[in-house]
């Protein structure tokens, strides 16, 4: 079947890609709604997930009783295929599908719309906040709006409007009818148009077959990183059931590679609370709900915020090939600049973390020009096992300091066996120069990177002493 089924604003839609007038399966939802549906309330601003003006709501059924899950996503990064089986809500949605009136009224009252170009996106991000039952505190609202930029208001009135909506959820619920969902036989997709194909398996069995048949097709996860530019043919692994699972045993926590950064924050954050604020600085709310762990690791970015965490935890990548499964320590997964240990036909199935250990101090820091929605200049993830105040084992993994995310080997060696103290951390900083020779680029000069990397060791000790006061 070359057909996509979804609902938009209360109406069913079917796109048959065999028809000449149909869009490409790679067409972004933004382009589709603006040009095919002629719904122009969703605005196009940056076109690459950096502003949130094109935010839409994607509702997915979570069970047969009509419960659904609401996600605010950047429609510019969302491929059409993502709509399959779901209900897309845009600012034009009728009130019985999505009641945004209380939000819009709050904005009017606070004068929170000036030029108005960011307003529909803002309204929808706040709608998702309400639907997800997040707390109405400035911290949580900021988290929700971390991916929505505004150039006019300076945000204060928007924040005030959002804060006033604590009770709006009840009213909204009263006005809304249960959302309609299309009947789909199968969640797996194989959409083809011209010479493009978008293949989305939902089970491991299916995926294995595909990897055998098409070992050279690029694999994608959330399509928020390098995937943004894929326009030919891909296998989208973000819906493979087995890859969405999180397995907890006595010794390990194993996260499926298609878990999103948001999932990771919840599932791992439970065991490692230090990760939560670090992961909340990853891109924006819209992206965190889409970008996957596997995607981030396989992308091989030298600054990717996820890899340093995995390496610091000495996590293991579980890799599936056409015939077998193998395991690789994350430490050895990155081979070179943007080159990772994956052969054609292989993919990351899951990442396995050890459970929190006693006497181990964990911390992670991210340095970027803007706190949120920005790629790291430098990041550091650290795990230090302390016995009687001395560093028994030290793992310091930096991103942004070399062609790959890497251990600060000399620095680790220096600290090993020494007392974990401020003065030793300061001394250790002098080893960083032996470990790294960073480059200057748009995200920071060489000097800035060095200073940051060195100072982070002091921050590390500071964090430790705060926790052990």
């Amino acid at each position: 079947m070359n057909i996509l089924r979804f609902c938009i604003n209360g109406q069913e839609r079917e796109i048959d890609f065999s028809k000449p007038e149909s869009p490409s399966p790679f067409c972004s939802v933004l382009h589709y709604i603006r040009h095919y549906e002629k719904l122009t309330g969703t605005k196009e601003m940056c076109g690459k997930g950096d502003c949130g003006a094109c935010t839409v709501i994607l509702a997915s059924q979570t069970d047969s009783k009509g419960e659904c899950n609401y996600r605010a996503l950047d429609s510019c990064l969302l491929p059409l295929a993502e709509l399959h089986g779901n209900h897309l809500l845009t600012i034009e949605a009728p009130a019985d599908c999505m009641d945004t009136l209380p939000i819009r009224e709050a904005f009017l009252k606070e004068r929170a719309s000036q030029c108005g170009f960011c307003s529909p996106g803002m309204v929808l991000s706040i709608y998702s906040h309400i639907k997800n039952g997040y707390p109405f505190t400035p911290e949580f609202i900021k988290r929700t709006l971390s991916g929505n930029l505004c150039r006019c208001t300076g945000y204060t009135t928007i924040l005030q409007a959002a804060l006033s909506l604590e009770k709006a959820g009840v009213i909204i619920k009263q006005n809304e009818k249960p959302l309609l969902f299309p009947i789909i036989e199968n969640n797996s997709l194989n959409l083809r148009k011209n010479n493009e194909s978008y293949i989305r398996p939902v089970s491991l069995t299916e995926l294995k077959e595909l990897l055998k048949d098409y070992p050279h097709l690029p694999l994608t996860g959330g399509l928020t990183g390098s995937g943004m530019t894929y326009r030919k043919s891909v296998i989208d692994v973000s819906h493979v059931k087995e890859m969405l699972a999180c397995e907890e045993t006595e010794d390990f926590i194993t996260l499926g590679a298609s878990c999103t950064i948001k999932d990771m924050s919840t599932l791992l954050g439970k065991h490692f609370p230090y990760m939560v604020p670090y992961l909340e600085d990853f891109a924006s709310e819209q992206i965190r709900g889409k970008a996957t762990i596997g995607g981030s690791l396989a992308d091989g970015s030298p600054v990717g915020d996820i890899m340093p965490l995995c390496m610091a935890h000495n996590a293991v990548c579980i890799i599936m090939g056409p015939d077998s499964i193998r395991e690789v320590f994350c430490d050895r997964f990155m081979l070179n600049y943007r080159k990772v240990d994956l052969k054609p036909g292989e993919l990351i199935l899951a990442v396995r973390f050890d459970r929190p250990a006693k006497n181990v101090f964990y911390a992670a820091f991210k340095q970027s020009r803007r706190k949120n929605m920005d790629i790291s200049s430098v990041c550091l993830a650290a795990t230090i096992k302390l016995i009687n105040g001395k560093c028994h084992s030290v793992r310091l993994v930096y991103g942004g300091m070399a062609a790959v995310t890497a251990h600060a080997l000399q620095t680790e060696k220096f600290l090993k066996g020494k007392v974990f103290s401020l003065s030793n951390c300061k001394k250790a900083a002098n080893c960083i120069a032996a470990d790294f020779e960073p480059l200057s680029d748009l995200r920071g000069s060489k000097q800035f990177r060095m200073d940051t990397a060195k100072n982070m060791l002091i921050s590390l000790y500071q964090k430790y002493s705060e926790q052990n006061e």
């Binding site: 945004t100 030029c115 108005g116």
Partner: protein
Amino acid sequence: MFQYREASHLSGTTDYIPDMDVSASSLKAYVITSPYARAKLVRCDLSRIKSAPGVQAVLTAEDIPGTNQMGIVASDEPCLMPTGTVCGYLGQAVCLIAARTLEMAKNAASLIEWEWEELDPVLTLKEAMDKKNFLFDPLILTRGNPAKAMQEAPFQAEGMLSTGGQEHVYFETQSAYAVPLCQGGLFIRSSTQNPTDNQRIVSQILSLPASMIEIEAGCLGGGFGGKQSQGSWTAAWASLLAWKTGKPVLMILDREQDMCLSGKRHPAEARWKVGFNKEGKILAYEVSMAFDCGWCEDVSSAVLHHCLFHADSAYFLPALSATMYACRTNKTSSTAFRGFGVPQAAAVIESAITAISRVLKKDPAVIRRKNYYGIKKNNTTPCNMTVEHNILRSAHSQVIKNSDYKKLRKETVEFNRKHAFTKRGLALVPVKFGISFNESFLNQAGALINVYKDGSVLLHHAGTEMGQGLHDKMRIVVHRELGVPLERIRVYNTTTSVIPNTTSTAASTGTDFGGAALKDACDKLKKRLSPFALELMGLKKGTLCWNNNQITCTETDQFISFISLVNHAYMVCESLSEKGFYTRKNIGFDLKTMEGRPYWYYVMGTSVACVELDLLTGTHRIMDVWIVHDCGKTIDRGIDLGQIHGAFMQGTGWCTLEQLITDNKGRLLTDSLDNYKIPGIYDIPDNYHIALYQGNPEPLNIQNSRAIGEPPLIYGLSVWLALQDARGTSLPIPATKEMLIKPMYNE
């Protein structure tokens, strides 16, 4: 109030240009631009583009029927660069394509075959200064004998400051939709702050009379100055293609192209020297500033004049020498940006004051207060304009009181003693911002009021609505004058067909001009209708009060409704339409003596910011901001507060975050929102404490209000100065994390 405009924004129904329901036959336009910063176009072959699928027209300079020129002041900016000439920057328009789809146009663009002869570009201010690469002669303003006063001053300090550019990041990119009209001429919907100059430029390019070109501006998705002069580009390009093809043409620059092609705030480098006495009183101030104007003049002359006239900021300078150099470089042509040269001028003199405070070991706020313009003496600016309705000291005292400044300072010192890696900083910054166009003829505006038989009112005025709430302020002005309920007053899109010869909506004058012109129309209308009102009430004379949708005689308390009055007027064939006009006489200055009255009035206020800086990362948090700002008698408190919040964050972005990076070939590397960062919601202050100054109505302005758009941007400097206070060093603009981080591992 009824918020038609905002309600439509929020429900996504506002039709910005990309959202217009354009005709199915309309073509999409794309512009091909120079790939070098400075190079001669030797040969340009379009044959492959012309035969590409979907392409309907390809135009170069040779195809322009009229004058190939779109400079707003000087004639140094061709609409399309002719073969054989040298491009001024990387991104200069060479060739236009209209195709059935944008994708087709872009694909065709890649088929261009051309030959360039690369020349060495000038990319830095230093190089431009060394080569004396100036767009026009330096501007100089002198008072007294600064050299002598400097020499005689007991103390001196000097320094340098570099301030960066700033991309506007209006959310709606430059865009226009041009539709050929059946009887000739064009209708153009344009995202512009300046419909009349759009009209002038299109008419000169097409060699058509202005009366055949209609420019309409709806709600803009932001402007901030970026659509004052350069908003005419897409109008001109789309018009040329529409004229050539006879079809409607839609042109929307994509984000990267918009960022690479369009101008930004002027980067500047300043040297300053200040002479002062032991109390911290400034005796002499010398400043010279080099501005990176980019490749052509645009509005740089006006920006530099505005900067020159604000070299003093809020301070009385008995002796001054200020020189502004307009450097030509091979970069985008710097253009208007909220503040228009004033932020740069203010940053420099505030640096000087901070230096004084360091020498004298006094709180900078004390030095600032000492140097404010006086009420009765020391109250004239270097161009001999008297500073009237001066509230600088009073606003200063209020902000000191509101912030409990002395206690805050004590706490800051205490905090810093206790913390090695985290430092707090505090700074107070005043603003004194002149309102008006320095060019006297620009200070004019027309308006038109149409009253319908049912008593509802439609307004036309010269200003464009770009988010600043201008249309709503206009409704309020008319509501107050005519007494018609707000929900019955609408504002029409800004169009040159109704209000001709408008000045751009810039220099914070939108409300001043539009409001006054509308009031003039209201006054005339009321004067004409009053005899009918009296007649209907059976009165010979009386004082009429227009309020609550009725006209009341204050002496007899008799009244008639507005609706019955206009109905009556209609029945007796009295016109219910009235035009208004407003002008500011006697504005201007003598170019020789540099004396005169460059401004109609000044807007003043003061802010205090308190920041906390993490030295280990260079990350800061704005803890509290106190502002006392004078809007005179505010027309709409909500709009004015929104402008203060927005301007403050935009100023803070310029001072601490936003950075433009160009490579050594002149290519802008920060060409998208991915690598050019504007403030996000995490960057806002923890607490705002904003007060509007009470009791200083502006007698010279509409309903005793004062302009609001630009002045509060200066308050962003308080964050920058507070960071310097926390860091203990002087910092450039932007003071990014790179500047703020402190290596602590060797301490």
